[in-house]
Symmetry: C2
Subunit: 247 residues, 2 copies
């Protein structure tokens, strides 16, 4: 059986409501649903979802009926923060999609010394839309918080691991230690902060600052991965080592 179509709604309350144009288009044009057809409505910010169906169509306007909202079935249960240094714009879109599918709870675009590009004004809003769309596609009921871009040093300090159940990792291809060496800590960790460098990597000063803040330097392997690959590979590695973001 095909899973039901999922649609993010801003205000998920029991009863009838009119859809906005984007949601209406998605249900009736992309998926060709009609009156009586069921779907799942979800509120990614509150991590709620509800059974719903189309109540009536009137031209382009679509009236739907939602049942009582319930907590989303698939939502992240551990804090997984990805601090991703800014690369070219379309690459960050791909990284946010990967991070959402693989359980990140917060995504922080950071500007490092070797970031080749300053963030543009509309970037954060676009990344938030990308995260919601990725949550819809993969069946996740919540969505990572996407921060405004900030200086790497500031993010490193604010999100540094504090306490026994917090792990901070700085991905660095030249690190002596592999991610696999962190299996024991990851298996019992309640939160992970992951630092992913820009193309060109972290500077020696940035690495020293992260170490001083309690981050461990680990390598995924000896090669220099592209920004689009490294986040997915690292989050796949965390999950394999027992830091299963969805429980």
């Amino acid at each position: 059986m095909r899973p039901l179509v999922r649609v993010p709604l801003g205000a998920l309350v029991e009863g009838e409501q009119l859809l906005d144009a984007a949601a209406a288009h998605y249900l009736t044009r992309v998926h060709r649903l009609g009156p009586g057809d069921p779907f799942v409505a979800f509120d990614p910010v509150l991590a709620l979802e509800a059974d719903a169906h189309i109540a009536a169509l009137a031209g382009p306007r679509v009236r739907v009926r939602c049942e009582a909202p319930r907590p989303a079935a698939l939502r992240a249960v551990r804090a997984l923060v990805v601090v991703q240094c800014v690369a070219k714009a379309d690459k960050l879109d791909a990284v946010v999609r990967d991070a959402t599918e693989l359980g990140a709870t917060r995504f922080v675009p950071a500007v490092a010394e070797r970031s080749q590009r300053r963030p543009s004004g509309g970037m954060t809003a676009r990344l938030r839309r990308v995260a919601v769309e990725a949550a819809r596609q993969c069946g996740r009921g919540d969505v990572p918080v996407v921060d405004e871009p900030r200086a790497l040093a500031e993010a490193v300090e604010e999100l540094a691991p504090r306490g026994d159940a917090a792990v901070g990792l700085c991905l660095e291809p030249s690190a002596a230690e592999r991610l696999a060496a962190c299996a024991r800590e990851l298996g019992r960790a309640a939160s992970v902060t992951l630092l992913v460098g820009p193309e060109g990597g972290f500077t020696p000063g940035e690495r020293a600052h992260a170490r001083a803040q309690g981050y461990r330097e680990v390598a995924l392997g000896p090669l220099v991965l592209r920004a689009e690959t490294v986040c997915a590979a690292a989050l796949g590695g965390l999950a394999a080592l027992g830091f299963a973001p969805f429980g």
Copy 2:
């Protein structure tokens, strides 16, 4: 120090040679190298590399001198075969790039029952170019073999795990077992074959066939990942669990 520019050469022999137009453009236009500037030439098929420098420029023609070739420093030391069911064309490009960076030694495009697209004529040639380009960028000295597309059932049989040191994995979001459960086998495995389904997933018949051929069904997590994400996340997971492709 910036790593040296790497250029794939078809015939890597000691002595002087003229570059083809693409390699000449790359060295002198993209990277603006001139006479005397060093670079690394590599033959991704034979996994050889050599120190080299530009000997002379004559208009668009570039003469280079290569020292004696040596085995490439970073090359895959374990067999890692990715059988990727065909999705949209540009997605396969991204998957081949990820697979190359993360140590695949062979990439097999497969046509499954739910593959929404038949492979086009030029696909294999393009994927081979993508693999060489990814090897150049990430510093890998060899390149995965890219097969012609074939039926999934045929690939599943030919590449099935045989013997104690071979592991076959079928990635299936609904599997009861997680990838992490394979840590012991992966740590001592000499080869891994990974089956990645199309959008829409494997059919029950395809799953049963893979199980009968000795593949274990494992999930990366409860969500349905996009084709572009799943390969990178799975290979990151394998590396984290001790199947380090580059040793």
